[in-house]
Each structure stands twice: as structure tokens, then as C-alpha cells.
């Protein structure tokens, strides 16, 4: 490792991590590519450095630390809760900036008090940045996947639409597109007479028909989507097409997504929104409030943190908190809660997880200014 080009504040950073009760962890630079592509999607393929082993295994240069740290944790079976600190090089194909740069961060695995673990992650990131870049104004933005999901569910949209909306949270262009589709009258997609016939039969007959056709046309009935799965979704789709969406749900959703205000006012605003809309947002709001309270307890000034309802990341393993700390529009730290990741990566039990990473090259630039 070319230690000579490490940022000069690396030592201080590692001391900070140690003082915050984390165990230093290192991971190999060369990683199997599959977990990254599986988790982040194929879009990542053109942004990482891929290669192949002699035996044909797809490998890549470590593009980030969260997945390797989680994999290492699962392998070593050390039990939870555990907090890991990392600092090392990551490699990405970028149009701007270097292709290899340093990242550091903390992953907090297995802490069941979600609100306080969330608050600690945000506070750690902010405090560390404040100490590295003293006297500079930092912008902290916070979002919450769980609150969005609760709003979508409470609005009573059909199941298929709920899934589409939740999946696109964080991808604002796509979300807007979906809302526009929802806003225009739904035309039931034309089912062919033959399909209508099939759908009028009972489930068993429909499944048997699909099963038979697959066998006749040489498709395996268990290698990919099964006859039962296709039949179930066909029925669901038919009921979706028959659903009429009322305009008020759409107005409420748009109103919710436009919320942007200081975190100090956000719990009351969310409660007010839920009341006025007649929506029960339940546990999501409770966690949101508890997190805000925990942040205040840690001494974070909630007036200086912005809650933006539409802020999220369109990756399906993020489950709650997302946050960013930036300065002059440069994101210096990004983090969030990813409770689904550990089981997706092969952990046998649910392990709540929250963490953040620091962009050391950008921090270096910010310090130089």
C-alpha cells in the first residue's frame, strides 16, 4: 500500500475512531465482484475496476468498504454488537477526480437501539469533520426511508404501486415520472381475449395451463419464474388495472415529498402532516422522533440539520436513516441505515446496521482552502 500518499490527517482520524470505541478492520483490495453488483446493481459495473481470476471468477478493486467489512464480519462470526473503523484506498472509475482515493468510516453492526445508533453515526461524522475542518460551515441533510415507506403504505395505494414507489425512493427523476403516471387516468392494459378467458378460470387451472405451456415450449418450471408466481402476478396486475386512484393520495404524496425543514421542527411537522392527512405513520414516526431526541442529547444543534423528506438512496438494502454532511456542495460524508444488507450478504440472522464513510480527498481539499 502506498502509505506515502495517505492524507496527512489519517493518524488523527484513526485516533478519533479508536476513541469512539471502534475496532480497526482492514479488507483485501481485491474483492469478488458479485456482491457489489448484486447489491448495488449493474450500473456499478462501469464505475468499478473489474478483472478476472485465472479460474474465471469476476474480481474487482474494492470500490467501497461497507460490503467488504460486512462480509468480513460474517466470515469471522465475532458476534454483535460490533463497531468497526476502516481507512484505506478505494477504486472507482470517475469522470472527475482521481480513480483511486482514500475513504474512512465507521460501521456499527448489531446495535438494537436503532435511534441511538443512528444518532451516534450522524454525530460521529459531524464531530470528526468539525475537528478536521474547524470553523467551517457544514451542511447536514437527513432523510428517512422508513418514513417514506410508512406514508406510501398509509395512503392505501395498491400493493404494486407501493412497491414501485418505494423502490424508486431517492431517484427523484424516476419518482416524478411515476407520480405523473399515477396522476393521469389509469387505462387498464388491454388483456387479450385469450388471457381474459384464462383469468376467468380458477387459480389451479391457470397454473396448470402455464405449467403445461412451459413444458411444451421447453422451459423449465423451476429454473426461473414458476407457473404459480406468474399466475399470482397476473391476477395482481388485473386487480391493479381495475383500481381507480383518487387524486387526494397523489396530492398528499407530493406534499410530503416537498417537506424540507430544520430537524428541530421536523417531528412536529410530520405529526401535523399525518394528522391533517388522516394517516397513521406509527413506528416510523416514533423512531424518527427518538432519533432526533438522541441527536439533541448528543449535543447536535437540530436547527442546523435539514430534514428533506425526498432524500433517500435507491438501493433496496437501505431501510431507515440516510444522511450527508457537505460543505460548499461537496459531500464530505455520507451514511445511513442498512438493516437488510447483512442477511442479503449471507448472515443467518437479522443484524441491524448503520454507518458512514468519509471522502478523504474532498476533506483534504476542504482543509486546504
Amino acid at each position: 500500500m502506498p502509505l506515502i500518499n495517505m492524507p496527512e490527517f489519517s493518524g488523527r482520524l484513526l485516533d478519533e475512531f479508536a476513541a469512539r470505541g471502534t475496532a480497526r478492520i482492514d479488507t483485501p483490495v481485491i474483492q469478488p465482484a458479485a456482491p457489489f453488483l448484486d447489491m448495488a446493481g449493474e450500473d456499478l459495473r462501469r464505475r468499478i475496476f473489474l478483472t478476472e481470476s485465472e479460474t474465471g471468477e469476476s474480481l474487482c478493486l474494492r470500490p467501497e468498504f461497507t460490503i467488504p467489512v460486512c462480509l468480513r464480519h460474517i466470515e469471522s462470526a465475532t458476534g454483535t454488537p460490533r463497531r468497526y473503523g476502516y481507512l484505506g484506498e478505494v477504486f472507482r472509475q470517475r469522470r472527475e477526480g482521481d480513480n483511486e482515493f482514500y475513504q474512512a468510516g465507521i460501521e456499527d453492526l448489531g446495535e438494537t437501539n436503532v435511534a441511538s445508533a443512528d444518532a451516534r453515526a450522524v454525530n460521529d461524522a459531524v464531530q470528526i469533520l468539525e475537528s478536521l475542518i474547524p470553523g467551517r460551515k457544514l451542511t447536514v441533510t437527513l432523510g428517512d426511508q422508513a418514513v417514506f415507506e410508512a406514508v406510501v403504505k398509509a395512503l392505501g395505494l395498491p400493493g404494486g404501486w407501493q412497491k414501485r414507489l418505494i423502490q424508486s425512493f431517492g431517484n427523484n427523476a424516476h419518482l416524478r415520472q411515476l407520480l405523473m403516471t399515477l396522476a393521469s387516468p389509469q387505462t387498464p392494459s388491454g388483456l387479450s381475449p385469450q388471457l381474459t378467458d384464462l383469468l376467468s378460470q380458477d387459480d389451479a387451472a391457470l397454473i396448470a395451463h402455464i405449467d403445461r405451456t412451459m413444458q411444451e415450449t421447453g422451459y423449465s418450471t423451476n429454473a426461473s419464474r414458476s407457473p404459480a408466481e406468474i399466475a399470482a402476478r397476473l391476477k395482481e396486475k388485473q386487480s391493479l388495472a381495475e383500481t381507480r386512484l383518487d387524486g387526494s393520495a397523489l396530492v398528499l404524496l407530493t406534499e410530503f415529498l416537498s417537506l424540507e425543514l430544520p430537524l428541530s421542527q421536523a417531528p412536529a411537522a410530520l405529526a401535523g402532516f399525518a394528522d391533517a392527512a388522516g394517516l397513521a405513520l406509527g413506528a416510523a414516526i416514533v423512531t424518527f422522533e427518538a432519533r432526533a431526541a438522541a441527536l439533541a442529547d448528543l449535543g447536535v444543534d437540530l436547527d442546523k440539520v435539514t430534514y428533506r423528506a425526498a432524500f433517500g438512496r435507491p438501493l433496496d438494502y437501505y431501510t431507515g436513516l440516510v444522511f450527508e454532511v457537505s460543505r460548499d456542495n461537496a459531500v464530505l460524508a455520507g451514511g445511513g441505515r442498512f438493516d437488510r444488507l447483512m442477511t442479503l450478504l449471507g448472515a443467518n440472522e437479522d443484524i441491524p446496521a448503520v454507518g458512514f464513510s468519509l471522502w478523504l480527498d474532498r476533506i483534504e481539499q476542504a482543509r486546504a482552502r
Binding site: 449493474e42 423502490q167 424508486s168 427523476a173 415450449t217 419464474r225 435507491p314
Partner: protein, 232 residues
């Protein structure tokens, strides 16, 4: 005076059709040396050189600017080059080599007619099958643009397929495909259907010009383009 290089397909229908167009445009192409030589010239134009290359190499050479013109399929240009429109200009669509790059799923997926349907299926795929939806294709760049950028679908995996892609779903190598089709008969024979908004690109053979600064002051460049356009 500098030499202008035109890259043409080195074999098959594409080679014949391209040569025919240049012939009609008053730029008859002759091979240098024997018939199977990979160099050629244009009769009466000593300052034009022909390089016979494979169709996908032509896209690469255009991108690198090592040739001035090329004749190749738009699909190969858009798949082979990042920021294709900055690196090349389609000077003329030549009216042959028609083929669509399409998203095709098994016919028996009765519930899937659109990309939105496919997005729903992809979102649930992992929890149902323990793996992401797999797409067999040799067009991974076009696939990503269509799925991720245009339709917001992230959750799938590409399985690189270098031949007989249309057989991959039945063979269990992938769930769906992105492939090229001209008549659709191969898809049909393999019980695949094209999604209603699943046409990624309507491709045909094109005369492509590498964007080079020196072209702007070179009258010969415009002449070649005009000559080809005049016979289409």
C-alpha cells in the same frame, strides 16, 4: 495532402452493400493486392484509403479517431463507445443492415408486457429466488442505459452472452435477454416476446464520421458525405 481513411466491414453482406453504395456514389472501391486483402483504395482518389475491419473494430477505431469514416451498425457504435455522440457523427443512414436491439422475455410470462412490469418482477426477484433477475446479452452498455437510466430498474445482473443469446432463457442460463433481431423469427422460435416498450435501439448500417477538428477545413470530408447521401 493527408490521407482520408474509410473503414468498411471486411466480410459478408455488410461489405457488399457498403461497397455497392460507394460504387453508386462515384467512389468505386478496389482491393489493393489480392481480393482478400484488408487494404483497399478508391479508384481515381489516391488520397482516400480503405481499411477492411470487423464491424465492432470499426466502432472502436472511430472512437479512437484512427480512421475518419466507418460503415458499421449503430448498435455497435452505441454499445462500443462511451459518449458516442461526442466522438462521432452519423453522417448518413444507409438503409441496410436493419436490426432492433430489444428486451425479450419468455412468452409464458403472461403478466409481463412492459418495462414497468419487468421492474416489478425484478424488484421481487431476489426475495423469491435468492438471486437477481439475470439478463443474457452482449449489449451490456445499451442494457444499462435502457434499464437504469430510462426505466429506473437497478436490480438485475447481466450474464455476458457471446452467441445464441436467444436460447439462454430456455437453457436456464438467464431469465430474459437483450439481443438484436431483424425479423423476430428467431425470438418466436425460442418462445420469446418483445416488451411493448422494449425496443432499445432501431439500428441500421450507418456512415459514421469520427469528430476531428481537421475535418472542418477539409473539403474532401464534405464531398464524401454529400456523394454518399446523394445516392440514398
Amino acid at each position: 495532402m493527408s490521407i482520408i481513411t474509410i473503414a468498411l466491414p471486411s466480410k459478408g453482406r455488410m461489405k457488399e452493400d457498403a461497397s455497392a453504395i460507394f460504387e453508386r456514389a462515384g467512389l468505386p472501391i478496389v482491393a489493393v493486392g489480392n481480393e482478400r486483402s484488408y487494404r483497399g483504395k478508391v479508384e481515381g482518389h489516391d488520397d482516400i484509403e480503405i481499411a477492411f475491419l470487423s464491424a465492432s473494430e470499426i466502432a472502436r477505431e472511430i472512437g479512437a479517431g484512427t480512421v475518419d469514416f466507418g460503415v458499421t451498425g449503430e448498435d455497435l457504435i452505441r454499445e462500443g463507445l462511451i459518449d458516442a455522440d461526442r466522438k462521432m457523427e452519423i453522417a448518413a443512414r444507409l438503409g441496410f443492415g436493419h436490426a432492433d436491439v430489444v428486451v425479450a422475455v419468455p412468452e409464458i410470462w403472461l403478466d409481463v408486457e412492459t418495462m414497468a412490469d419487468l421492474g416489478d418482477v425484478a424488484a421481487d426477484f431476489r426475495s423469491r429466488h435468492g438471486r437477481r433477475l439475470q439478463i443474457a446479452t452482449k449489449y451490456w452498455r445499451l442494457t444499462q442505459q435502457h434499464f437504469s437510466a430510462q426505466h429506473g430498474i437497478q436490480l438485475y445482473r447481466i450474464v455476458e452472452s457471446l452467441g445464441a443469446t436467444e436460447g439462454a432463457p430456455a437453457a436456464g442460463q438467464a431469465d430474459i435477454i437483450v439481443d438484436i433481431t431483424s425479423t423476430g423469427s428467431t425470438l418466436k422460435a425460442n418462445h420469446l416476446k418483445i416488451l411493448s416498450d422494449g425496443v432499445i435501439l432501431k439500428s441500421e448500417a450507418c456512415l459514421v464520421r469520427a469528430r476531428k477538428a481537421e475535418h472542418e477545413t477539409d473539403a474532401r470530408v464534405k464531398k464524401i458525405v454529400d456523394a454518399v447521401r446523394s445516392v440514398l
